[in-house]
């Protein structure tokens, strides 16, 4: 939806801003302008400088050089409080509401902290109610926010941001935790705000969304401004990707289906976890990428954990290469060649304080008689990582690596164990575009080598682009199988929600 650009003066000008941290030039002479009444997207890979820029605007950091101008006046904020007082409000990715308090309290109290002096509660409450109404909040404003959905909490955050009389609203990854319906509602609200002449800076990895609602796009890469252009000058996602990544990347092509030589590798029958998963049966063949699609909470992760032996309460049968096997714990799953890359990399994939080499060889550290050969550990890891197009010192602690690289370390672990069956649970969540496509290519590569790939994904474009087969799970049951051309966003959503 394109939007006529009004010829107004810029409300926020970023002029030649640079900021360095030890060892990295986070921002390098960045300049661009944000106008009132526009939705301005800020794009960039992880590490490109987006969050540093936002924090510098917001007063968390001080720029080394350069200035900001608000309505033509030079300002540098010494703290977020100052930024807020000057009309800039930010809704962070991790929501910052106080869970035990209700919506009204959260809004009013946020405000209270900004101004000294006494509060006129009834006045403040009225204003909060009006903000919530304007936003289209339909919940109970007097209920404690912990009982509300993420989408509603987000609305409260926006209402709170607006209650500071902000004119510039920064939204950081606002749709990462929303369903597509809730996202559409958010877009309506954001567009309404635009009509009310707010300037909205919209940070997101979801390029489709960006193209849908944004008027202008600024792309950062390696701390530098790559481009700041209006929407009509952008041809499509690949344009944005090219700016963000610096090279052309295309989504991997799906091979044409060859159903004749299908070799069954893994078969699950009557998998049941009381109350969570109901009689799920599926077959997985060598060389294909199968996706478990479904809503959050539909039981997909539980299915996959059960296959991995991590859930003792599950019942059912598992057949590996047509022979019945028992998987009692993760160790036996590993021994049978099953690799599970969990959803939350940090909590369930990596030991953050250990090196990449240690993490990658954790299931079977190389060495005899209980000793570890660090040399072998490092060379095996480096080898696996180079297959994944990652070249860095493997003795680096994984905490210091980017999300995409961390995912590669986890993947390296399972390459090293020579697994046959790779289960990916949300493999590219929170990973930037460049790394995302690399991981897709990797999965396709593994499939071509004859491995079995089972993927859980809630990212519909990813599901469509990557899967050979889609198994839709709804409320713990397998409700629909989509093959090849049948795989469309509409079909997946249809069966995932109602069927």
């Amino acid at each position: 939806m394109n939007h006529q650009l009004k010829s107004q003066a810029a409300v926020l000008k970023i002029k030649n801003v640079s900021k360095a941290f030890p060892g990295v030039q986070a921002l390098n002479n960045v300049s661009f302008s944000v106008y009132p009444g526009e939705i301005h997207a800020l794009l960039g890979e992880n590490g490109a400088g987006k969050s540093t820029l936002l924090k510098t605007i917001f007063g968390v950091h001080r720029p080394d050089s350069g200035t900001f101008e608000i309505d033509g006046q030079e300002v540098i904020f010494k703290s977020p409080a100052e930024a807020i007082n000057n009309g800039i409000a930010m809704v962070h990715q991790e929501l910052s509401l106080i869970p035990q308090m209700n919506a009204i309290q959260n809004i009013v109290l946020g405000r209270e902290m900004m101004r000294l002096g006494t509060i006129n509660w009834s006045e403040a409450k009225k204003r909060a109610e009006i903000s919530l109404q304007k936003i289209g909040f339909k919940g109970n404003p007097y209920e404690s926010v912990s009982k509300l959905s993420v989408a509603q909490q987000q609305l409260i955050e926006i209402a709170r941001a607006l209650s500071f009389e902000a004119r510039i609203l920064i939204l950081d990854e606002p749709t990462s935790a929303l369903t597509s319906q809730e996202s559409n509602q958010l877009f309506e609200i954001v567009e309404k705000l635009r009509a009310d002449n707010y300037a909205i800076i919209y940070v997101s990895h979801r390029l489709k969304e960006v193209l849908k609602i944004c008027d202008r796009v600024t792309v950062l890469r390696d701390g530098k401004l790559i481009t700041s252009i209006v929407r009509n000058e952008i041809q499509g996602e690949h344009d944005l990707i090219r700016h963000m990544v610096g090279r052309s990347l295309t989504e991997v092509e799906k091979p044409s289906l060859n159903t004749a030589n299908k070799v069954e590798v893994l078969r699950v029958e009557n998998l049941t976890i009381p109350g969570v998963v109901e009689d799920v049966s599926m077959s997985l063949y060598a060389g294909e990428i199968v996706c478990l699609a479904g809503m959050v909470g539909s039981g997909r992760t539980e299915i996959v954990r059960a296959i991995n032996g991590a859930d003792p309460s599950s019942t059912g049968q598992i057949y590996l290469n047509r022979k019945r096997i028992e998987i009692r714990n993760p160790r036996s799953a590993i021994n049978y060649g099953i690799a599970l890359l969990t959803e939350d990399r940090k909590r369930q994939g990596l030991v953050l304080h250990m090196s990449a080499a240690s993490n990658a060889t954790l299931p079977n550290p190389p060495g005899k008689f209980g000793f570890i050969s660090r040399k072998k550990q490092e060379s095996i890891t480096a080898q696996a990582l180079s297959l994944l197009n990652a070249n860095f010192s493997v003795s680096k602690v994984v905490k210091e690596l980017s999300g995409g690289t961390q995912q590669k370390v986890v993947l390296a672990r399972w390459l090293i164990t020579n697994s046959q069956i790779f289960i990916f649970d949300e493999p590219t969540r929170g990973i930037d575009v460049g790394a995302k496509l690399e991981i897709h290519n990797l999965m396709r590569d593994l499939a071509t080598k004859g491995k079995v790939i089972l993927m859980i994904s809630s990212d519909l474009p990813e599901v469509i682009a990557v899967s050979d087969r889609v198994l839709v799970i709804r409320r713990g049951s397998l409700v629909k199988e989509l093959v090849g051309k049948e795989i469309t966003e509409e079909e997946v959503v249809l069966h995932a929600t109602q069927g």
Partner: protein, 331 residues
């Protein structure tokens, strides 16, 4: 591999570094501890020239031995994210048993007996912790009481005298020109550094403490390795019990109550995080030496024991504060 599917330039290569920053940080911490020890020695030496004599340094190291060895044992346990509050009581039981053995059998049996007491105590700790889901803090709090009661029961509440000199020489005498306890301390520190760096056991402990879920998913036997950590802690405490009996020439069932907190302090000062996943054996050793230096120095100034306790406690807090400060600045 995927080159025919993506047009890409070679992705940028990150220039390799030979060591990760956390190793550097830990090295810096150990270095800092050593510097503080040296500064203290110089300071006290200026006030009392005897302080710098080699005899005195040896005394300090000797004083540091028990706490140091306990600290090392505690480091294994704390790295896994747990804690062993029973080490003081294990020392008491082991010293009593070792003392009794020494009066009836050869020194070797007495030494081994003391260690075995520790092994069994540690085993009980370990099994209780991995089979029940109760936190190590509570379990070892309980066993702390049980083992100290055992020590009193076995000894009849009385100190055991008449420890034969053969035993005393064996464990508290000199070998290769240095007191045996110091040699043991040095050996155990070096051995533990090696274990953490070059054995799978050490790797597993760090993984278990850092992220037990990941460790499980990687197929590591979390229960077995965690239990082993407590066995190690217990056996080192048992060894300390034997050493104490040899040094004092008597076995006192009431030992150990002071030792626990100082041992944990040494461990924490050495850079081991109570949350687990990170730790330094050398750090624990240096921590013990620092505390021993401080105590000795204050004694040389005739500061009363009560004030010494305050000083040591303050030093512990200061170390942690400085640690926080340095970490904060790095951001």
């Amino acid at each position: 591999m995927s080159k025919n599917l993506i047009e890409s330039n070679n992705p940028p290569v990150v220039s390799p570094r030979t060591s990760s920053s956390s190793v550097l940080r830990r090295g810096a911490r150990q270095g800092a501890l050593l510097i503080v020890v040296i500064m203290l020695i110089v300071y006290f030496g200026l006030l009392n020239s005897y302080f710098i004599s080699s005899q005195n340094i040896q005394n300090i190291l000797l004083q540091a031995t028990i706490v140091g060895i306990l600290g090392i044992g505690q480091t294994y346990v704390i790295i896994t994210g747990g804690i062993d509050l029973s080490i003081g009581s294990i020392v008491a039981t082991a010293t009593v048993c070792s003392g009794i053995f020494s009066t009836h059998t050869s020194p070797v049996v007495a030494i081994v007996g003391g260690i075995l007491v520790g092994v069994m105590a540690g085993l009980v700790n370990g099994l209780l912790i991995v089979t029940t889901k109760i936190t190590p803090f509570i379990i070892t709090l309980g066993t702390m009481g049980i083992y100290s009661g055992l020590a009193l029961i076995i000894s009849g509440g009385q100190a055991i005298y008449g420890i034969p000199t053969s035993f005393q020489h064996a464990l508290a005498g000199k070998a290769f020109g240095s007191p045996v306890p110091i040699l043991l301390f040095a050996f155990l520190t070096t051995l533990s550094v090696f274990v953490m760096k070059y054995t799978k056991f050490g790797e597993y402990l760090v993984a278990i403490g850092g992220n037990p879920e990941v460790a499980t998913l990687a197929g590591i036997s979390v229960r077995r390795n965690t239990a082993y950590a407590y066995v190690v802690s217990g056996s080192l405490a048992g060894l300390c019990g034997a050493i104490l009996a040899a040094r004092l020439g008597a076995a006192d069932p009431n030992t150990g109550s002071d030792l626990l907190l100082v041992a944990i302090a040494a461990t924490v000062m050495g850079g081991t995080k109570l949350a687990g996943g990170e730790g330094s054996m050398v750090g624990a050793a240096f921590g013990a030496i620092l505390i021993a230096t401080l105590t000795a120095g204050l004694t040389s100034l005739n500061v009363q024991a009560f004030y010494q306790k305050v000083a040591v406690g303050t030093a512990i807090i200061l170390t942690i504060l400085i640690d926080q400060f340095v970490k904060g600045r790095r951001r």
